[in-house]
């Protein structure tokens, strides 16, 4: 049996992280968690994940910065990143805008909260 893929979840809200963890684990993945951008980078350094689900709005180091750092390093730039934005349904806008998303180097972005099947589908497609 093939080893389970490892997904790293980074978000500053523990409840949110737990909820996403349940969804991701239901898809048959191992899950590692971190609670801000800095912790996320440390977790990557400790054990390289197969994919990162990264929240944009976080203290210490936000998602964009963490994403940029990961894409700078040749070690980690291949890891697919799905950015999560609090902009509900991309219908309304708060701090981060469409433009930020377009300029970001992340592979994908999804609005928060994420619909379980859609998240699992995106993870699956980026892992293949």
């Amino acid at each position: 049996m093939a080893e389970k893929k490892l997904i790293l979840l980074v978000d500053d809200d523990p409840d949110f992280v737990e909820a996403v963890r349940v969804i991701v684990e239901s898809g048959g993945y191992d899950v590692e968690v971190a609670y801000d951008g800095q912790e996320g980078l440390e977790a990557v350094a400790k054990q390289k994940p197969d994919l990162i689900v990264l929240d944009v709005m976080m203290p210490v180091m936000n998602g964009h910065e963490a994403c940029a750092k990961l894409k700078e390093s040749s070690e980690t730039k291949e890891i697919p990143i799905i950015l999560l934005t609090a902009v509900a349904d991309r219908v309304t806008t708060s701090t981060y805008t469409h433009r930020d998303m377009l300029e970001s180097e992340a592979e994908d972005y999804m609005p928060k909260p994420v619909e379980p099947n859609e998240l699992l589908e995106r993870i699956k497609s980026w892992l293949n």
């Binding site: 949110f16 309304t92 806008t93 708060s94 433009r99 909260p113 379980p116």
Partner: protein, 497 residues
């Protein structure tokens, strides 16, 4: 004038009767006295207007009586009768206050002429007195009015300036100097532009005078003064016999800084509360999703149905908060629009892609017919997307299953027109004027199961207007609703036909 009271004082009965006959048949009441003493006694007891007085009498003579009259009853007109017809006596009498004289012998006509003249004089004097009194009263009233207005004017908290038709200040109150930070001294007599440097104030005055209507404008701090001001400028129009005439203008400035401050506090508070509500709700929604993951084996159970509703309601709440947040930001003017050149057809296509599943679930056909020419407009992508998305999702929400939504565009006169037409339940006439009001929701049987915050369309309107656009709505409860949006276009690329 009522009956004229005439007294004839003469020692000769012939003369007395002769004068009486001359005046008979006219509007006179005539009394007679045979000597000076009797005459004076009668004058004291009655109100006479005119006295015909013989100068030469035994006892107190005419001069004595005249002196007495002028001292005690100066308003009585005295006509002297002199037997000598000597001018010198008559002149002396007139110097002492007699009105005229009649020389003996006299003709009845002559007496009548002289007496009539005296009557005329009395009438004129009375009229003059009446006018004098009236004038005094009017002046007093005007003065009272003036001091009242002056006090009101002086006490007013609002700044008031009055100009003539050429925009020269003719009057102002103390508050004007204070509120408008005016440095000019004096302000009166100079064009308003000298005291208020802001060009739009001058323009406002000219507009009010030129177009003859009230102009209202707001001035942010730093334009006219350090305060936030709301100004009203009204033309002063006199409607005389020769048509309407512009006399000038009255400009009032109200200091609304405090209102604005409170308004901002309100917006900030709403923004803060909304922001704080948002993140826990987002987590709750995510946890509901997670619960559903573990519940999928019970797909047909109540549990699953309730989970579904929980998700919907939480999402509505979240959207309400987002809308509230955005509205308060738009209102407080803190939103910075990142304008980018955006393809009109592309943004609609993007939105329809997201909206389609929602429509398909209700078996609603979405038909998008873009015009032949491609066009671009300068908009903040996210805000514009939100606005149009709200319109589209309303169209789907308020259209029953099996209905249709028709979207088309056209370009004319530098504007792009977007039409969103649904076959939905429509909006009743009485609701139509309110649909852009905040928290206004059409209540009724047809809308009972449709959730929403009542903020969507107010947000749409704010966004559309922030982009110099227009929004209009037409609705017919039996045919559906049509929203029309217009925006200035940045560029049109005509496709070759």
């Amino acid at each position: 004038m009522d009956e004229v009271q005439v007294l004839i004082i003469d020692d000769e009965k012939v003369i007395r009767d002769g004068v009486e006959r001359s005046l008979a048949g006219k509007n006179f009441r005539i009394a007679k006295a045979g000597n000076g003493e009797e005459g004076i006694a009668m004058i004291e007891a009655n109100n006479f207007d005119i006295i015909l007085l013989d100068l030469m009498m035994p006892g107190i003579d005419g001069f004595g009586v005249l002196e007495w009259i002028k001292e005690h009853k100066p308003h009585i007109e005295v006509i002297v009768i002199t037997g000598f017809a000597t001018v010198s006596k008559a002149v002396t009498a007139m110097k002492e206050g007699a009105f005229d004289f009649v020389g003996k012998p006299f003709t009845p006509d002559y007496i009548r002429i002289v007496v009539d003249r005296a009557v005329e004089k009395i009438k004129l004097e009375r009229e003059a007195r009446r006018l004098r009194e009236e004038r005094t009263l009017t002046l007093e009233a005007i003065q009272n009015e003036q001091s009242l207005l002056k006090t009101v004017f002086g006490c007013m908290v609002e700044a008031v300036l009055i100009t003539d038709p050429q925009s020269v200040v003719v009057h102002h109150n103390p508050a004007a100097i204070k509120i408008l930070d005016i440095q000019t001294d004096p302000v009166v007599g100079k064009p308003i532009a000298v005291s208020i440097r802001d060009g739009s104030v001058v323009q406002m005055v000219q507009e009010a005078i030129g177009d003859r209507h009230v102009v209202t404008r707001e001035f942010a701090p730093g334009t006219v003064s350090r305060r936030y001001l709301r100004a009203h400028c009204a033309p002063v129009i006199s409607s005389g016999n020769d048509g309407q005439k512009i006399l000038g203008s009255v400009i009032t400035f109200e200091d609304v800084s405090t209102h604005k401050e409170i308004d901002k506090m309100k917006s900030d508070f709403v923004a803060m509360v909304a922001h704080e509500l948002k993140s826990p709700l987002a987590s709750i929604e995510q946890m509901i999703y997670a619960l559903q993951v573990n519940c999928q084996y019970e797909a047909a159970s109540n549990c699953s149905k309730l989970h579904g509703r929980m998700t919907v309601r939480t999402r509505d709440l979240l959207r309400l908060i987002e809308n509230l947040l955005n509205l308060s930001k738009l209102e407080s003017g803190t939103v910075v629009f990142n304008l980018e050149r955006t393809s009109g057809h592309e943004i609609i296509t993007d939105i329809l892609e997201v909206a389609r599943p929602q429509a398909e679930a209700k078996d609603i056909a979405i038909d998008f017919q873009p015009c032949a020419d491609d066009w671009w407009f300068n908009v903040d992508y996210d805000h514009m997307r939100t606005a149009i998305m709200n319109i589209v999702s309303n169209a789907i929400k308020y259209t029953p299953e099996g209905g249709s939504v028709f979207i088309s565009t056209s370009v004319s006169g530098g504007f792009a027109n977007l039409v969103f037409q649904d076959s939905g339940i429509g909006i009743a006439k009485e609701d139509l004027p309110h649909i852009f009001d905040r928290f206004y929701r059409v209540k009724g049987k047809a809308t009972r199961h449709i959730t929403g915050s009542g903020l969507g369309l107010s947000l749409v309107k704010e966004v559309v207007e922030a982009h110099q656009g227009y929004i209009d709505v037409r609705s017919d409860p039996s045919h559906g609703t049509t929203f029309m949006l217009s925006f200035p276009v940045a560029e049109v690329v005509e496709t070759l036909h």
